[in-house]
């Protein structure tokens, strides 16, 4: 398969735009070769080229500077063999089904797919050949998403059959390894058929890697009355770049709950995009962002209703220390059709240093006239009175501050299904702010 990467596809209007066009061409050259899905990949390639890479002049990227990314050259990902002991720290005993991808390539030796519970099928491109559901979710024409579609090396496919309830969490582990800076394009697709229920832990980690670029996309398709508890944990290397899309469609009566943790990466961005395609759905979007040192961590969520009687609740929390910066933009669209919507959004932010910064923006667009929509945002520092209260009970100053941050973070972390992992992540948060 050969597709010409043409940097002249759109006449650039300025030298900066030319540079971005050239950079996109550079990224597209790093696409691993693969068999199958040519049409999907070629179409995505054209979309990416048409769209072009954003700059801070684009409203959606106003607060997040991509110039450090644009100045870094990446090479194509290669399939790298790791031993099971290399990933020991990430294995969750309570999630017996595990799909592991190394640099975007499926790693069967690291995965655990024997003894699948009834109703769950897991597969990769090699098993299925063509995937009709791929690329059907909302937001596929956004440039980084199109870049992923044009570039992925494999796809993790999870299918939960009609009426089946999968009790144990399913673990999807995307890890990056290697000394050379690579661009990887992890791709997931979850299809939950009508009346099914499952819990997914989707995790991004690094094993002996520093500078790399993860451009991830996971699509979720929920059938009627289906339920998915989706836990997305981004703990890339501190020097990495991470841009991720979670694209979800919800059919009538379905329930989707996302817990998203963003801890790693020098620059990270997560775009959860949820479209209930019918009425009576329930959506929960919760997130915790930790940004320290000079990290920039951005979350842009987008929830667009299309039918009546839907409920949604969103709580996004940021802990920002040192000179780091967090961004939250929460868009909720309630069109005329979406009467009787009941939605709430809260953005809570804890700044631990005077140089830390958060930009938070609720963006509610409400056309329907019979709805309940609430939103709020708070930005605060640790409360001196609370610290004193804990000190007066025998905790030293640092322990008191830790406990308060722990309380702030726990509200989100406690939603993760596995106690051992909750503790690991809480420790990871606390170790960063000390």
């Amino acid at each position: 398969m050969t597709v010409e990467v043409n940097p002249e596809a759109i006449a650039p209007s300025s030298s900066a735009a030319q540079d971005r066009q050239a950079y996109l061409a550079h990224l597209l050259v790093q696409r691993p070769s693969m068999n199958g899905l040519d049409e999907v990949r070629d179409r995505a390639l054209s979309i990416a080229q048409e769209r072009g890479l954003p700059s801070h002049r684009d409203e959606d990227w106003r607060f997040t500077d991509l110039s450090a990314l644009y100045q870094t050259s990446f090479t194509a990902p290669t399939s790298t063999a790791l031993a099971l002991q290399d990933i020991d720290a990430f294995i969750l005993a309570e999630a017996p089904v595990r799909l592991v991808f190394v640099n975007g390539f499926f790693a069967p030796d690291l995965s655990a797919t024997d003894n699948l519970p009834a109703g769950l099928s897991v597969s990769t491109l090699a098993d299925v050949g063509n995937l009709v559901e791929l690329g059907q979710q909302p937001g596929m024409t956004e440039v980084f998403t199109a870049l992923n579609t044009a570039s992925f090396a494999d796809v993790a496919l999870l299918r939960i059959a009609k009426n089946q309830v999968i009790e144990a969490p399913i673990h999807l582990l995307f890890l990056t390894t290697g000394d050379t800076p690579i661009i990887t394009s992890p791709r997931g697709l979850v299809v939950a058929e009508a009346n099914s229920a499952a819990t997914l832990i989707e995790e991004y980690v690094a094993v002996k890697a520093d500078s790399y670029f993860t451009n991830a996309v996971t699509e979720v398709c929920l059938g009627q009355n289906a339920q998915l508890h989706h836990h997305r944990i981004q703990r890339e290397a501190k020097t990495a770049f991470h841009i991720g899309k979670t694209a979800v469609s919800q059919d009538r009566d379905s329930r989707y709950a996302l817990t998203s943790l963003s801890l790693g990466g020098q620059m990270s961005r997560h775009n959860p995009m949820v479209v209930p395609t019918a009425g009576q759905t329930d959506t929960t979007l919760n997130g915790l962002t930790l940004a320290v040192d000079k990290q920039v961590a951005d979350t842009h969520s987008d929830l667009s209703f299309t039918g009546p009687h839907c409920t949604a609740q969103q709580l996004h929390k940021c802990i920002v220390d040192d000179r780091a910066r967090a961004v939250f933009n929460g868009k909720i669209f309630v069109p005329k059709l979406a009467q009787q919507t009941n939605a709430s959004q809260l953005s809570r932010n804890l700044l631990l240093s005077t140089k830390a910064r958060v930009d938070t923006k609720p963006q509610l667009e409400i056309i329907a006239d019979d709805v309940k929509c609430a939103h709020g945002a708070t930005v605060s520092q640790l409360d001196d009175e609370e610290v004193f209260y804990l000190q007066s009970r025998g905790l030293d100053h640092n322990s008191a501050c830790d406990l308060l941050v722990e309380g702030f973070a726990s509200e989100i972390i406690d939603q993760l299904p596995i106690a051992e992992q909750r503790q690991t992540l809480l420790n990871a948060v606390l170790s960063q702010i000390r």
């Binding site: 409360d383 001196d384 009175e385 609370e386 004193f388 209260y389 804990l390 000190q391 007066s392 009970r393 025998g394 905790l395 030293d396 100053h397 322990s399 008191a400 406990l403 308060l404 722990e406 309380g407 702030f408 973070a409 726990s410 509200e411």
Partner: protein
């Protein structure tokens, strides 16, 4: 109870303190011995709560003069947590809510910080659970409160009971109750007072700060001090509280003024 020749627990001499460079305490003297229950009464703005916070080491208050000796050591040199670990306990007028931190975890961390200070082994979750359940009885508290976030969504009475539960666990040498009775209905007041009475022993002492005489019907003090303008104006027995209730604070102020005039 007043015990002959018992140890001095707290000795405050000529204490002065500022908040935001405004003098609040203006030469306060007080001595508390083991076994005693003291009450400080006074009108709003007399400096009662400031005094309690200075004793606990609140950073917003600056001591500008005088001394506070607690069990033979200079209390003012100690960090708030060191004061707590060495047995000074302040029950807050407005206990703070700590969202996301379970009451049980908070109590255990607090209890173990004192154990560690005393060179004792920390209690593990199981042993502590047994201990805390036993102490719940002191304030008739529902065990369900242990699993909730510290004080979050607690009623006023529940917060004050939670303070006394902490006191029951920490077993302080000097317990300072800052308006613990404020805002309590009579049933909650009885429970809180009963808890405090159960914890009073010959080797510890209690200092109550209150605006109302009502509390002193349930926790009977050995000494009542009347405070105004940042110092103690007069000291008496429990009957002084009743006199104050009948005549109001202006009576003490007038008497004080008369004394000065003589």
């Amino acid at each position: 109870m007043i015990i002959e020749n018992s140890d001095v627990i707290l000795s405050v001499r000529n204490l002065t303190a500022d908040v935001d460079e405004t003098p609040i305490l203006k030469g306060l003297n007080l001595e508390i011995k083991a076994g005693e229950i003291h009450a400080i009464m006074g009108p709003n703005g007399s400096g009662k709560s400031t005094f309690s916070k200075v004793l606990a080491g609140h950073p917003a208050y600056t001591v500008t003069g005088g001394e506070v000796i607690y069990k033979g050591q200079n209390l003012l040199e100690l960090e708030p947590e060191e004061r707590s670990r060495s047995g000074v306990f302040l029950a807050f007028q407005y206990p703070l809510e700590i969202p996301g931190v379970s009451n049980l975890d908070f109590l255990r961390v607090s209890y173990n910080s004192k154990r560690q200070h005393e060179g004792l082994e920390e209690l593990d979750a199981f042993d502590f659970d047994d201990l805390v359940r036993e102490r719940l009885d002191v304030v008739k508290m529902d065990p369900a409160f242990l699993d909730r976030s510290v004080n979050e969504g607690f009623s006023g009475g529940e917060k004050k009971r939670n303070e006394i539960l902490q006191m029951a666990l920490l077993e302080p040498t000097l317990a300072i109750l800052d308006e613990t009775d404020s805002g309590l209905d009579i049933d909650a007041l009885k429970i809180v007072a009963n808890g405090v009475n159960q914890l009073a022993e010959p080797d510890n002492a209690t200092l109550m700060i209150t605006h109302y005489q009502r509390l002193l019907d349930y926790i009977v003090p050995d000494f009542v001090h009347v405070m105004a303008e940042g110092k103690i104006l007069t000291t008496g027995g429990k009957e002084l509280a009743q006199e104050l209730e009948a005549k109001g604070y202006d009576w003490v102020k007038a008497e004080d003024a008369a004394e000065v005039a003589v």
